[in-house]
Amino acid sequence: GALVYQYPRRTICKSGTSMRMECQAVGFQATSVAWYRQSPQKTFELIALSTVNSAIKYEQNFTQEKFPISHPNLSFSSMTVLNAYLEDRGLYLCGAPGLGDAEQFFGPGTRLTVL
């Protein structure tokens, strides 16, 4: 399957500060990258879908002002959690469709803890 890396794997930030997480596709072109969040004891929510050379589409309850995303090329995407608070805790995954079809492969996630 396709390989997706995420960095950092774990991070802790103080309430009110911001942190940036990165997503790297290896061995394939990630034309589209989707960012998801899994809050504690919950399922995965789509934050936004980013397509190179196209506008980033944010889901309801998520905004560019809070979760700005950069997707400058076909192998890299980053997302920042601005002004993080307790409700932003969770596991953030990036996913991209692999070669040939729309099966999505996910990175190992960035686990965010907010103090």
Partner: protein, 108 residues
């Protein structure tokens, strides 16, 4: 309500037994994926389905788009099958809507 309803929410199996997980969709799913989330949080791809059935070792999955459901059958459960299973449906453009997950514990 939930667009993807997954059941059961939790399941305990004896090693060597069989079981089935199910997802019902209230969206027009075109494809379905099944994942296993390991204790570290990583999602392991199990199946990617268009309508139909796939089998891989002790796992078998079916996606019935007309009746809007998908199932994952586990045969001869092993200890290493323990974890949380998620289904996810795609209805448009790489957007996956995840089920609520099934927490599976396989006991010796």
């Amino acid at each position: 309500g939930d667009k993807v309803k997954q059941s059961p929410s939790a399941l305990s199996l004896q090693e060597g037994t069989n079981s089935a997980l199910r997802c019902n969709f209230s969206i027009a799913a075109t494809t379905v994926q099944w994942f296993l989330q390991n204790p570290r949080g990583s999602l392991i791809n199990l199946f990617y389905l268009v309508p139909g059935t796939k089998e891989n070792g002790r796992l078998k999955s079916t996606f019935n788009s007309k009746e809007s459901y998908s199932t994952l059958h586990i045969r001869d459960a092993q200890l290493e099958d323990s974890g949380t299973y998620f289904c996810a449906a795609e209805d448009m453009g790489y957007k996956l809507t995840f089920g609520t997950g099934t927490s599976l514990l396989v006991d010796p």
